[in-house]
Symmetry: C2
Subunit: 206 residues, 2 copies
DNA sequence: GCAGAACCATACGCCACCGTATGGTTCCCT
DNA sequence: AGGGAACCATACGGTGGCGTATGGTTCTGC
């Protein structure tokens, strides 16, 4: 053998991280329920014996996988956003765009909100949710909205985000299809969510 | 025995409808996966023998349950809405309110969007989704928005609705708590989603 | 008041998965 | 080189669910 170490495609021995990676992969494909020890072992070309050496049980793997995902996910989003200049309006818009495309990309996220009730998932999800809503609300305050409205707007924006994610999964046909149409819709969303209302008092259109 | 017939609390013989009702109940409680024949039988105080007399298999029950739910659900919403006067703005607002509270009520709906991928669920969900988006888009057109914007607004509104439903499940703590706060938030949502934008062209706030 | 249909109970075989036990390999250190 | 630790394979028992088989019970028409 020429190459030893941890990076060859056919590694002889597995680390817990390998199992976590595989777990996240199958979560993305088939949801939480798809994380089964024996199939995973097969997928990794090994056996349960390996698994139960590295992990206490299935739940431990789940927890580890969720922890790693949460870390990477939040890190990715916030990092991307905070280094995006100081203008809160720009940052908000960037956040919306980023998170929208991410929602259609990260199928782990989608799988998790599909299993929000699971004891291992719930805390992760509430953490992420509240943190993001808070973050967005702060952005709205920075823009100049009063605290209460900032929170409302944040809630609405986050709801729209979650729903969009769901739509992308359950009825993608309903979403704008072409590249240009998608872009126009996104623009519409950003504007609607971030623009102050026209006339206070009477909001009735013609 | 004094009372015979089909309405006593302890009925001797079961109908498929009884099974469907029970199925919907456990879907509401524990999701699709909770629909298991043996536990259901136990819950109904009977045995699998009964079940497999009335249904081909578990999937048949699922399909029947979903069909009944879809019927009742769409009927409830559209009926409630169409007999609500002719003013499209009023109807839209009423729809939003109605559907928002419904989302926190009907746990079957929530359970279903959590299992949107399931072959028995997907068609039901896409039907409901597209139908509602279309309906809402028509409402926006009636209000006076051009077709494209009407569709965008409808999409956004529906996304927000879906997301709100998810939020109510996975992080209810993030939603407005008190009765009054909830009401104010709802008002905010309705206004934001239905009010035409202030200035075309420049949508940049101060 | 009984025959046949409708309905239900029990027992069984099957499968997929979890977790354990136990004995092999392979590595690493000296 | 050889011994212990790290790692993996295989076999096993257990559980929970699906679907079938087969015989029992209740209802209904005549």
């Amino acid at each position: 053998m020429v190459v030893a170490g941890t990076s060859a495609t056919t590694r002889r021995r597995l680390t817990p991280q390998d199992w976590v990676t595989a777990a996240l992969a199958v979560i993305a494909e088939g949801g939480l329920a798809a994380v089964a020890v024996e199939p995973l072992a097969q997928r990794l070309g090994t056996s349960k014996g390996s698994f139960y050496w590295h992990f206490e049980n299935r739940d431990a793997l789940l927890t580890a996988a969720l922890a790693r995902w949460e870390e990477q996910y939040t890190a990715a989003v916030t990092a991307e956003n905070t280094r995006a200049g100081a203008d809160p309006v720009q940052r908000l818009r960037l956040l919306i765009r980023r998170v929208t495309t991410l929602a259609e990309t990260d199928s782990v996220y989608v799988a998790l909100i599909a299993t929000a009730g699971h004891p291992a998932v719930a805390p992760v999800l509430t953490r992420i949710t509240e943190q993001r809503i808070d973050y967005t609300a702060a952005l709205f305050r920075d823009i100049g909205f009063p605290a209460r409205e900032a929170r409302y707007r944040s809630l609405l924006a986050y709801s729209a985000h979650l729903g969009h994610t769901e739509l992308a999964r359950s009825a993608p046909g309903a979403l704008p299809r072409g590249r240009a149409d998608r872009e126009a819709y996104l623009q519409h969303v950003v504007t609607t969510l971030t623009t102050p209302r026209a006339l206070r008092g009477s909001s009735r259109p013609a």
